[in-house]
């Protein structure tokens, strides 16, 4: 009895079908992301220059000795800025994803479990969602000044309603699961059911959602910088490097190209990993495999 019996002839098919997804594309994506994360994490040690040291008399140079990717309009080393900038971009992305997921989880669980709070919370979330997120984010940055913290807050707040909706939906669905009803029958208290049975259900979709938020936060940071509501040029991010570089797009496209490439590759691989995670957790496949 130790080996489970296949319950359907289709099961081996589905089990097998998942393999290539986790293999080829996802593997490449994971590798790319790992390289980017590693490079940006190590950037303080591997960057050839201080990203802030400027030499305005040698500005907008192409690849020259000591500056393999050339210099920007302050004569700063592009390679170093892209490396260090990636770190902050990733930090903004990760912080946004983590905070949005955490806050959204708490609010969503409350909304999903307490009928009385639900209506009020969801109306507020509807209102928040109705405000276009970019406009809200610009307004928030304008409100707090363009520090890293306020940029994170500005990107996070519009993401929260989406997380809340997701968590609420999962909690509502999980409430109906027989094992939750069985737990009720076993005399498990509501808070305990919430924490031990319901919240774990939200984790998998939240991880997937988190990767998407992470990717879109990095992108949103770039757009905020582009619209003039990003973090200071003294703390380089991929976004503000590109935003500054856009004035020189036609004479020195590298200023957008390199950070853009790094950013796009990074987001691409995060999205691919998110997709892979989602496919693994796809209830449709799960249902058929079961």
């Amino acid at each position: 009895m130790a080996i489970p019996q296949p319950t359907s002839a289709m099961q081996p098919v589905l089990r097998w079908l998942r393999l290539p997804r986790l293999g080829v594309g996802t593997g490449i994506a994971a590798a790319i992301l790992a390289v980017i994360v590693l490079l940006t994490l190590l950037s303080p040690w591997i960057a050839p220059h201080d990203p802030l040291t400027m030499n305005p008399l040698a500005r907008l140079k192409g690849p020259i000795e000591g500056h393999p990717l050339g210099t920007d309009n302050f004569g700063r080393d592009i390679l170093s800025r892209v490396l260090i900038g990636g770190r902050l971009s990733l930090i903004i992305g990760i912080a946004t994803a983590a905070i949005a997921v955490l806050i959204g989880l708490v609010i969503g669980v409350v909304a999903g479990f307490f009928r009385t709070a639900d209506a009020i919370i969801m109306r507020m979330m509807d209102a928040l969602m109705a405000i276009p997120s970019i406009l809200l984010a610009i307004a928030l940055v304008a409100l707090n000044g363009p520090s890293v913290g306020s940029v994170i807050a500005a990107i996070t707040i519009p993401e929260i309603p989406r997380v809340v909706r997701l968590v609420r939906a999962v909690v509502l669905a999980a409430r109906e699961e027989p094992y939750v009803e069985a737990a009720i029958a076993l005399g498990t208290s509501m808070p305990k059911i919430l924490v031990r049975h319901l919240v774990p259900n939200t984790l998998a979709p939240l991880i997937v959602q988190g990767t998407y938020i992470l990717a879109s936060a990095i992108l949103t940071e770039a757009i905020l910088s582009f619209l003039g509501a990003g973090v200071s040029t003294e703390t380089p991010t991929w976004g503000n490097i590109m935003a500054e570089g856009r004035l020189f797009f036609r004479i020195k496209p590298e200023l957008i190209l390199y950070p853009g490439l790094a950013l796009s590759l990074c987001i691409l691989s995060i999205n691919l990993l998110g997709d892979a995670a989602r496919d693994m957790l796809d209830p449709r496949l799960k249902k058929r495999a079961g």
């Binding site: 290539p20 594309g25 109306r123 507020m124 509807d126 209102a127 928040l128 969602m129 109705a130 405000i131 276009p132 997120s133 970019i134 406009l135 809200l136 610009i138 307004a139 928030l140 304008a142 409100l143 000044g145 990717a215 879109s216 992108l219 770039a222 757009i223 582009f226 619209l227 003039g228 509501a229 976004g239 590109m242 856009r246 797009f249 036609r250 957008i256 853009g260 950013l263 796009s264 590759l265 987001i267 691409l268 999205n271 691919l272 997709d275 449709r284 058929r288």
Partner: protein
């Protein structure tokens, strides 16, 4: 049905009221002072105070809010603090370009994305599927302004097919309109196509696994019939939904593309207003875009029953 529509419309009121409170508070807590902006470089603190007084910025917050909402309900959006122009007139001048480009974007996106998604789902795990998926992930991964600049570089400057910037109203002819609008619309489409294609693919995959698809095949229906007659209509509701929720994304994208392509639309109006602390304009614009979002999604909800007879109100 009518009752449902009425109830849905009533439900818009608290949401919009919350948006109004939210926007109002957000802006009043902002450190910027429109009086200082108007007074200009040479102003002294005493002059600033006089301007503030004249603009009613010294009144208590709740009075300002009530005054504002009261005027709103009378259809008075206020007057721009900076240019002294009625906000409604400013918006009226500017909605045309944004709307026409947004609609063009939606048309382009749906025309491109739905067949892409259908193809990808049909040829699941084939080269075509991976190509569509790669494109749609790319659409999410490249910042809109980079796409815009690339399009300008290639299609306007290298190939000379389209003007680099500007906007021509549809009233001056479809050709003239399109020549200006097509690049911004394409730029905006990248993310929208990605979104819709993904959603189409995912839902088509789901629908194609349904029993009635097997039934259709068992009837001897050719693939085209299976895909478009049987599957697509069943996948339509979530696709419609994503077009609705993607509307917010579209507004975000509009802000950027209007800047890149120099289109005199409401996106730029809003960003300029935020940077200039032009409260009446910001408030009106955020309310308007939020209202549009709510309205679009309401209409989409109501349109579900056109596609799915199970949904009746």
């Amino acid at each position: 049905m009518l009752g449902y529509i009425l109830r849905r419309c009533l439900a818009v009121i608290p949401v919009m009221l919350l948006v109004a409170v939210f926007v109002f508070l957000l802006l009043r807590l902002t450190p910027g002072d429109p009086a200082a902006i108007i007074a200009g470089d040479m102003a002294t603190p005493a002059q600033l105070e006089r301007i503030r007084e004249a603009m009613g910025l010294n009144q208590p917050l709740h009075i300002q809010f009530v005054t504002w909402v009261g005027r709103l309900l009378q259809g008075d959006l206020g007057v721009s603090l900076i240019s002294n122009t009625p906000v409604s007139a400013m918006i009226a001048d500017r909605v045309g370009p944004t709307f026409s480009i947004a609609i063009l974007t939606i048309i382009i996106s749906v025309v491109l994305a739905v067949p892409m998604g259908v193809l990808a789902a049909w040829k699941h795990r084939s080269g075509a599927d991976y190509a569509v998926m790669t494109f749609s992930v790319l659409g999410f991964s490249v910042p809109v302004f980079v796409v815009g600049y690339l399009f300008i570089l290639v299609f306007s400057l290298q190939l000379g097919w389209f003007p680099v910037q500007g906007y021509t109203p549809l009233a001056q002819g479809l050709g003239a309109f399109l020549s200006n609008a097509i690049l911004p619309a394409l730029t905006l489409s990248t993310i929208y196509v990605a979104l819709i294609a993904r959603m189409t693919r995912a839902n088509m995959l789901e629908v194609l696994g349904e029993d009635y698809i097997r039934t259709a095949r068992a009837k001897g229906a050719p693939e085209r019939t299976v895909l478009f007659r049987h599957a697509l209509r069943n996948a339509a509701v979530p696709i419609l939904t994503v077009i609705g929720t993607g509307f917010a994304l579209l507004i975000g994208g509009v802000v950027v593309t209007e800047t890149v392509f120099n289109i005199p639309g409401i996106g730029r109006l809003t960003v300029d207003a935020i940077l200039a602390r032009d409260y009446p304009v910001i408030q009106a614009m955020i309310l308007l875009t939020s209202f549009l979002y709510v309205l679009v999604n309401l209409l989409i909800d109501l349109s579900y029953s056109l596609f799915d007879p199970r949904i009746r109100y």
